[in-house]
Symmetry: C2
Subunit: 357 residues, 2 copies
């Protein structure tokens, strides 16, 4: 059996952190006889510079042919003034949409070794373990019509469309209910059903699905309240399911509760379990090329890849255990540094994980 | 000079907290010779029960004729299953839109006496003082078209429209720049300009306005990052300006950073400085009628009313000083109770503020 993994380093710190994750994947490939083959391609700003488009045809073809994709990050100020259709982000959005990666899984986990990094009080966040399930190929990110038009009055109006069909809601709902079944059996669906019609339908479909998952306790929360509750008492949540835009906001908020967003991986899956895996943090252009970025979120994304797309649970656990071990050893990149710990570079952190495997 | 104040107690704890604020307004009315006249009317669920509509014509007429409005809160589970157009929230949204109360000011202030109530570490939030300026009569809350339609495939699709015109953006931008001028001279505009065309226009207009306010430092932040930064380092912000939906989410998140949402007032103003004032917290149906709700956010909303709509700065400051004094005295309603303090009822808290005036 052979499996194709596409590496998309992207921009900013992307190449540095993906390089470390690739070493780790290579090692478990040998150790566990996984039969992984690696390819790489350009996406985002790197692709704009080379090929004048954030998502070259060749990259898209390789992505479609891959069993799984590991992405670093895209974007940076260098490309910020380009028109929307030519910006690095379009590379990422194009991959999500072309591969129909509708299910975005974003765990927010507090590593006990890093508890002090959180800006929240220890008792509020210790043991935090939330899974956010975000719809990723619909909603206002992709809704039509959209653009800027001139009104009769002569002034311009910007507009976007927030839309979901029943089937789009149902398929992300199933992923969330199933995730809840494998965890604490509590699912909170987040919407704004007191104001937005599209989320009235969302709530109705979630209620409808509930009957198929009698072992899961479903609740509903308005998005403004969810943003509050995440700050007030985040441990009340097990799995949260929500649309693309609310998911973007709440998953970043939840990630930051841990204080170490440099630790958090993510998975974006389609219905064939083909997936794109990437760290939750961005391209961090301010520290790119300095060799100080934290590669652990990308390494943990590689572990998620092994688990969700390749069915290699043992190899996934081995990586996660190795990461936990280097944290126990007191090794820290700058972003998670604390007194008494040993500060290491991107590469030293990668080497330490390799050694711990 | 005589000024008309409309009291809209609304639902849940609304009547209890508005009653205390009215006593306080009556007292400063006498003390400072303000010439205030009070009327009251029904809105929200209370209006649905009496008049089968969340915003009776009579209420709207009184609101239009008033110099300022003090609202308690609307909504509750009793009315949650009604169709969208008949729900309590429509009363609130109808008032905002009919009176063109486009500028929503939501301070998030940490009272030193209540610092321990925050779920964040003291060093992260001590001295917190942010002003969120939220656009309140446009964006996806009011965008057309909206609804649920049947597609050719036979399945339903829910949809809403997120739209802003240049002039809508410009008028809220001016309010925010002016607020920044009177505070720390830093304005952060929050958008999602890497994905949503409507917010590309938003960013452009904010940049454009900057030239008129050379003393204000303008920055831009994506909404997902803003949700993170509020948790990570909230004191980096002075004034935040954003659209209706993002403002709903971020202002609640910011409010919760203080740990005492029962303390936070808000103002919603139109271009004639006519305004509706209300606490940031909701109708709290679970504790309604028990006499334990915190009236201070409503009392502080009355102070904002005196400041922004009636130009009575001295009376506003007198109320704020009285509130600070009762906190110094150790009086606490249940929501802000902590060890060693003295627990008081809604009414006792109101009486204490009166006594401190
Ligand atoms: C880069 C941006 C387009 C993207 C998004 O908004 O989805 C990012 O914030 C994310 O959450 O993956
Ligand atoms: C009650 C609801 C319609 C309202 C809103 O979403 O604007 C509330 O959450 C608020 O922020 O005032």
């Amino acid at each position: 059996m052979s499996r194709n993994i596409l590496m998309l380093p992207g921009d900013g710190i992307g190449p540095e952190i993906v390089a470390e994750a690739e070493k780790v994947l290579n090692k478990v490939n040998d150790q566990f006889g996984l039969g992984l083959n690696f390819e790489s391609a350009l996406v985002g700003g790197a692709a704009i510079d080379e090929a004048d488009t954030p998502l070259p045809e060749e990259t898209l073809e390789k992505a479609k042919a891959a069993d799984a994709i590991l992405l670093g990050a895209v974007g940076g100020p260098r490309w910020d003034s380009l028109p929307m259709a030519k910006r690095p982000e379009k590379g990422l959005l194009g991959l999500r949409s072309n591969l129909q990666l509708f299910a975005n899984l974003r765990p927010a986990i507090l590593y006990p070794q890093l508890a002090s990094a959180s800006s929240l009080k220890p008792e509020v966040v210790s043991g935090l373990d939330i899974m956010i399930v975000r719809e990723l190929t619909g909603g206002i990110y992709f809704g039509q019509p959209r653009g800027v038009r001139e009104l009769e009055s002569g002034e311009r109006q910007g507009y976007n469309t927030y839309a979901y069909t029943e089937s789009e809601i149902r398929r992300i709902g199933r992923v969330a209910f199933e995730a809840a079944q494998q965890r604490g059996k509590k699912l909170c669906s987040v919407d704004k059903a007191n104001v937005l019609e599209v989320t009235v339908l969302w709530r109705e479909i979630m209620e409808d699905l509930k009957r198929e998952y009698p072992d899961v306790e479903l609740s509903h929360m308005y998005v403004d309240n969810a943003a509050m509750q995440l700050v007030r008492a985040p441990k009340q949540f097990d799995v949260i399911v929500t649309g693309n835009m609310f998911g973007d906001i709440l998953s970043d908020e939840a990630a930051m509760l841990t204080g170490s967003i440099g630790m958090l991986p993510s998975a974006s899956l389609n219905s064939q379990k083909q997936g794109m895996y990437e760290p939750c943090h961005g391209s961090a252009p301010d520290i790119a090329g300095q060799g100080i970025a934290n590669p652990l979120a990308t390494i943990l994304s590689a572990a998620m890849m092994l688990r969700y797309s390749l069915g290699e649970e043992k190899a996934a656990e081995a990586i996660e255990a190795a990461v936990s071990k280097v944290l126990d050893q007191g090794l820290r990149t700058a972003d998670i540094m604390s007194e008494g710990a040993q500060k290491v570079s991107t590469r030293e952190m990668g080497e330490a994980v390799l050694a711990a495997l």
